[in-house]
Structure formats: structure tokens, C-alpha cells
């Protein structure tokens, strides 16, 4: 998965969903779509924003803007991403409410948190 939330990509995804005949509700307005997706940026060995609060069912996408690879490890969810090289992304959909701590598998001093309301 390489898509990001930049406007062009967003529009392209909506078109794709329309074409597939799914996610019509998401096309009604950006507001609803935004509620179902969120982005966490990795910059200077820092996750931002953190904590990130989202609703259940939200797909969170991490994007790495560093010159060094990072990975996302969430022990509670047994989630472990592939290594994200520069500008690579990783997406995960949070289905259950709860507070989820995660860290970078390569640089475990990097911590982040997603709160699913």
C-alpha cells in the first residue's frame, strides 16, 4: 500500500471506490471519509500526532519521512509492519475500542499511542 492522504490520492481513491460500486457513502462528503482514515507521520524519529484518537473502524496509515527505515510494532495487537523505507506507508484498521501503544521495531525508544474511542 503506497497511498497517502494528499488531496490527489484522496480523490483517486474515491473515484476508484465509485468505480467499484462500494464506499458510496464515503463519497458523500470528505467529512465522513476523514472520520474513517487517519495518518501518522514519522519525522525525525518521532510519531506525530501521538496519541491519536480515532473511532472504531478507522484505518490508520503511518508514513515514514525519515532517511532511515522504521517499523510499527504493536505488541497488544500482535501487529508488526514490514520495514518502512523513506516515504513507505503501513496501514492498519482499528476495529476495537481501546488504547494501543506501539513502538518502532528498529528504534524502540520511539513510542506512539492510538486511542480508539
Amino acid at each position: 500500500m503506497t497511498e497517502t492522504l494528499e488531496p490527489g490520492g484522496f480523490a483517486r481513491r474515491l473515484l476508484l471506490r465509485r468505480a467499484l460500486g462500494v464506499g458510496v457513502a464515503a463519497a458523500i462528503g470528505g467529512r465522513m471519509a476523514a472520520a474513517a482514515e487517519a495518518e501518522i507521520v514519522i519525522d525525525n524519529f518521532t510519531f506525530s500526532p501521538t496519541p491519536l484518537t480515532v473511532k472504531a473502524g478507522t484505518t490508520v496509515t503511518w508514513v515514514n519521512h525519515d532517511d532511515i527505515p522504521h517499523s510499527i510494532v504493536c505488541p497488544d495487537l500482535k501487529v508488526k509492519s514490514h520495514p518502512l523505507d523513506t516515504d513507505d506507508t503501513f496501514a492498519y484498521t482499528f476495529e476495537q475500542a481501546g488504547t494501543y501503544d506501539y513502538l518502532c521495531g528498529l528504534h524502540p525508544h520511539m513510542h506512539g499511542q492510538v486511542v480508539v474511542a
Binding site: 532517511d67 527505515p69 520495514p83 523513506t86 528504534h107 524502540p108 513510542h111
Partner: protein, 306 residues
């Protein structure tokens, strides 16, 4: 590269520490060089080996767009040493992303030196297949995640792995199984045996905020207390740092790929972009000579350009 005067002073203070153990230090061009008093060059009978580190093959960002070329250059310098070293140690982050092609390039280039290479993995070497892509190539005959020991030139060498199962504390980690093995491994050795320990992440806490240290490193070192000479060689932080604590001399090596900022001097430990033409002052190799079983080993860290 500008030289912080306090660094020079600190270097000379260290010099004083080492002078007591028949070691003289000079700091020139920001590079600490050590040699034993009265032996500027390793004598013909001395046992020498070379350390390289953090070649990060596959890295192609502005801090160094051609890490293969700088590794080649480092290895060429190894070939030019007056005395052929006994072998080469690579203290990890051989590759940047654990890709087969990156490991292949490493094996090919390092093999060109005709020297045996002893390695330990860095966190960048175990990103694929739970570390098997590293172990299948470099881990033959090792235990656990790739730790082992061997004897050469009267020295007992111990390669440790402190990059697996990294925990929330943010530091390197050896783990219970490896520590037990270490305790057992050195139990039968006489206290006069010189010990060289090599691992990727520094065994001592260099800078906790950036995870530059090993959570259970002190426990590992506690098993080595009885030995008169312990030298610890690490990589990971892409710069030379040295300290002496009792009988233990700690040394971190430069990277052959790109420099990283000194602890706490930048927002993050990411690759440091240095002015054009200066990169090679920040990269290099270390050659180590064993001169006396009583003294720590002499380490000469050589930048690619001096």
C-alpha cells in the same frame, strides 16, 4: 570538521588514563589514535585484526548516495595495511534493509580482502525472515540469534547479538539465554586471557534518549570482571567514542556509510549530511593490535580521508 576544544581536552584526559596501561593517545584532526608507548607501528610479530562497521549497503540517501564505493574504499585501506591482519570483524548493519542483493554485495566486497570475516548483526540485518536472511549467510556455527566465541592470537573473542526483541525501554537487548551462554563461555578461561567482545549496539549506555546502549549490558560485563584486559568493540552510532572503565576499554567504530550526530546534538540520530568533500573524514575502519596480554588492545581508528 571542527574540533571542539573540550573534546581535545577530554581526549587527552583519556590519554592519561591509558598512559598508565602503556598506551599513549593523541588527538589529531578530531580523530583519537592510540598506540603503545614506543611502538608507533605494530611490530611484525604483533597480532592484529581489523574492525569495520555499519556499511548499510543499500542506503542511497543524501548523507551518502554511494555506500558501496565508501565500503570499497575502506576495504582497500585494509589491503594497504603494512601487516596483514589476522581477520576482519564487522560489527553489524552490514546491509540497510536485509535484502539478499545487499548481503551479496557485502559478501563479495568483503570476500575480496581474502580475510576471514566475523560478524554480528545490526538491527538493519534482521528485517527479513525473522533474521534468517542474516543467519543463513553469516550465522553458520553460531548459537541462538547469532552469538558465538572463538580464540585467536591468544585472545578470546566473543560476538554478541543485542538487536533482537527490542523492548519498549528503547535500548539494545541481549536476553537471558545469551547471558547464560556468556557466563558459561568464559567460566573456564584464566583471568589473564585477553577478552574482546564485539556487538552492534554499544554495551554501555552512551545516550539513553536515542536508545544508544544495551539494557542488560552491565550484566554481561559483570561476567567479565575477573579478566585483566577486556576490550569492547561496538558500532551502531556511526562515530568514534571511547572510554576506559577499570580493565574494560570501550570503543565504538565509525561507519563506512554515513555519520550520525553526536549524542543529543541534533533532534534525532538520523543520518548526518556533511559538506561536500568532508564525508570521508567521518567514515573509516579500525585496526586493532594485541601487544601485551596485560594492557588493553591498541585501537587505531582511521578515517577514509585524513
Amino acid at each position: 570538521m571542527s574540533i571542539d576544544p573540550s573534546l581535545q581536552r577530554r581526549g587527552f584526559l583519556k590519554c592519561m588514563t591509558w598512559a598508565g596501561t602503556a598506551m599513549v593517545w593523541t588527538v589529531a584532526g578530531g580523530v583519537p589514535r592510540s598506540r603503545l608507548i614506543g611502538s608507533a607501528e605494530a611490530a611484525g610479530t604483533d597480532f592484529t585484526f581489523v574492525q569495520i562497521s555499519d556499511s548499510h549497503l543499500g542506503f542511497d540517501k543524501p548523507a551518502n548516495p554511494d555506500v558501496t564505493a565508501t565500503l570499497k574504499e575502506a576495504l582497500d585501506d585494509v589491503g594497504k595495511l603494512q601487516k596483514t591482519p589476522a581477520f576482519m570483524i564487522h560489527t553489524g548493519d552490514i546491509t540497510h534493509l536485509s535484502k539478499p542483493a545487499q548481503f551479496d554485495t557485502a559478501a563479495q566486497l568483503c570476500g575480496g580482502t581474502k580475510l576471514t570475516m566475523h560478524t554480528v548483526p545490526g538491527e538493519h540485518d534482521i528485517l527479513e525472515e525473522d533474521g534468517k536472511s542474516y543467519l543463513n549467510r553469516f550465522g553458520k556455527g553460531t548459537k541462538g540469534d547469532g552469538w558465538y566465541s572463538f580464540d585467536a592470537g591468544g585472545v578470546h573473542f566473543i560476538g554478541l547479538v543485542n538487536v533482537v526483541n527490542l523492548q519498549g525501554a528503547g535500548l539494545g537487548n541481549l536476553g537471558h539465554e545469551q547471558l547464560e551462554w556468556l557466563e558459561d563461555d568464559v567460566a573456564h578461561l584464566s583471568a589473564s586471557t585477553p577478552i574482546v567482545v564485539f556487538a552492534h549496539v554499544p554495551l554501555w549506555i552512551v545516550y539513553q534518549d536515542w536508545g544508544w546502549g544495551t539494557a542488560d549490558g552491565a550484566q554481561a560485563l559483570s561476567y567479565l570482571k575477573k579478566f585483566g584486559s577486556v576490550t569492547v568493540l561496538n558500532g551502531h552510532i556511526h562515530q568514534t567514542l571511547q572510554k576506559v572503565e577499570g580493565n574494560v576499554a570501550f570503543h565504538t567504530a565509525r561507519s563506512t556509510a554515513f555519520p550520525q550526530p553526536s549524542p543529543g546534538s541534533a533532534k534525532s540520530p538520523g543520518p548526518m549530511v556533511v559538506p561536500a568533500g568532508e564525508l570521508k573524514h567521518y567514515l573509516g575502519i579500525a585496526s586493532v593490535s594485541l601487544v601485551s596480554a596485560k594492557a588493553p588492545l591498541a585501537i587505531v581508528d582511521t578515517p577514509l580521508a585524513s
